[in-house]
Amino acid sequence: MRAIEPWVEPPLSAFLAESAARVTLLMTASGQVVAQHGFTRSLDVMAAAALGAGIVASTTELARVMGTATLGNAAHQGAAMGIFLSPFDTPRGRWIALVVYGPETSLGLVQLFFGRLVADLAGAAPPAPKSGPVLAENFEAELNASLRSLFGR
C-alpha cells in the first residue's frame, strides 16, 4: 500500500481486510492519487485515477444536465471481477474511491465497509498542513537535466 499521508493507511488497511477488495485507489476529484493498494506500476495507477475521475466527473455533469442532484455511486459487474466507484467528502475535500473486487467478496460487502472507510477517514484526518516551498531555489538545473534525459537530448 502507498499513501500520500500516513493517516490514510490505517482506515484503508481495515477496509482492505474487511472487504477483501483486490485493488483500491483513492484519488482527488481531479484525478491525483492519494493512496493505492494492488497496483504494480505507479504510472498505471495514474492512468486508472485519470479514468476514474473522468467517469465520476462526467456522471456528475450528466446528473446536472438531467436535473438530478447526484447519481451517486457507480458499479460495473464483469464476469471475473467488479468495479465500485464512488465520490465522497473528506475534511481534505472531495475524494473518489475506485475499488476492484473478485468473487471472494461482493458489491454489497464492499459498499458496507466503504461506508465505514469514509467515516474512519473523516475521523482520522488531521488539520491540513500549511503548504510551503519544497523545491530548492535552483531546481531548474535539475529539471532541465531530467527533461533532456527524458527526451534523449
Binding site: 502507498r2 482527488t28 506500476r41 505507479s42 504510472l43 495514474m46 473522468g54 462526467s58 455533469e61 527524458l150
Partner: protein, 200 residues
C-alpha cells in the same frame, strides 16, 4: 497546486493541453509518447471517437526523475477541441496546475483560436481561477506550413500574448518545439513550489 507526497517525497503535476479542434494537442502527446523511454512513461490513454477525434481526453503520465530530492511526475492531458465538447473540457481542466494553449497558426483558423482562448478563460473563471494567475505557455503550432497560409509568431503574439508569457513556435508533427513547450510549462509550474530567492 501540484500534489506533494512528503512521505514518499513525490510531486505530481497536472498539465493540460488546450486549444481548438485539430490544432495539434493530441499530436504533442503522441510525439512525447514516442520519444520518451518506456520505463519513464505510462501507456497513453485516448478516449477518442471512431474517427480519432478526442472525445473526452488523452492522458500520458511521465516520470521526470528526481528534482530537489522529490520524484517528480507529470500527468499530461488534452481536452477535446471541438466547440460542442465544452462540458468535457471543463471537467478535464479541473485541478490543472498549468496549461499549454496550442494555437493553430493557419490564418484561416484565427477565429477558432480566439474562440477557444476565450473559452479557456471562461472555463477557468468558472472554477474561480484567473487565467493571469495560472502558469500558461502558448504554442504556435504548424509553423512548418507555407508562409502564405500561416500567421508568424510575432502576429500571433500580438493577438494572444497579452500577458507576455512564453510563446513557442512549433511543428508538433515532427517534434519541433514540443520539448521546449513542455520544458517552459514545467518550469513555471514547479517554480510555485520552489524557495524564492531573498529580495535584494
Amino acid at each position: 497546486m501540484p500534489l506533494v507526497n512528503f512521505t514518499a517525497r513525490e510531486i505530481t503535476c497536472k498539465l493540460v493541453y488546450y486549444g481548438p479542434g485539430r490544432c495539434g494537442k493530441t499530436t504533442n502527446l503522441q510525439y512525447i509518447h514516442g520519444r520518451v523511454p518506456e520505463h519513464r512513461r505510462g501507456n497513453m490513454v485516448s478516449l477518442a471517437t471512431q474517427s480519432d477525434r478526442t472525445l473526452f481526453f488523452d492522458f500520458l503520465p511521465l516520470e521526470l526523475g528526481v528534482i530537489s530530492g522529490f520524484t517528480t511526475r507529470f500527468q499530461l492531458y488534452t481536452v477535446p477541441g471541438q466547440v460542442y465538447y465544452n462540458a468535457t473540457r471543463r471537467l478535464v481542466l479541473q485541478g490543472a496546475d498549468g496549461v499549454v494553449f496550442v494555437v493553430d497558426s493557419q490564418a484561416r483558423r484565427f477565429d477558432d483560436n480566439v474562440e477557444s482562448f476565450q473559452n479557456l478563460q471562461e472555463n477557468l473563471l468558472d472554477q474561480g481561477i484567473d487565467v493571469r494567475q495560472l502558469p500558461l505557455v502558448l504554442q504556435y503550432n504548424k509553423q512548418d506550413l507555407p508562409q502564405d497560409l500561416i500567421l508568424n509568431p510575432a502576429e500571433l503574439d500580438d493577438a494572444f500574448n497579452f500577458r507576455a508569457v512564453r510563446s513557442q513556435p512549433a511543428d508538433a508533427l515532427h517534434g519541433t518545439g514540443v520539448f521546449e513547450t513542455l520544458k517552459a510549462l514545467s518550469g513555471l509550474v514547479l517554480e510555485r513550489l520552489a524557495v524564492r530567492p531573498p529580495a535584494s
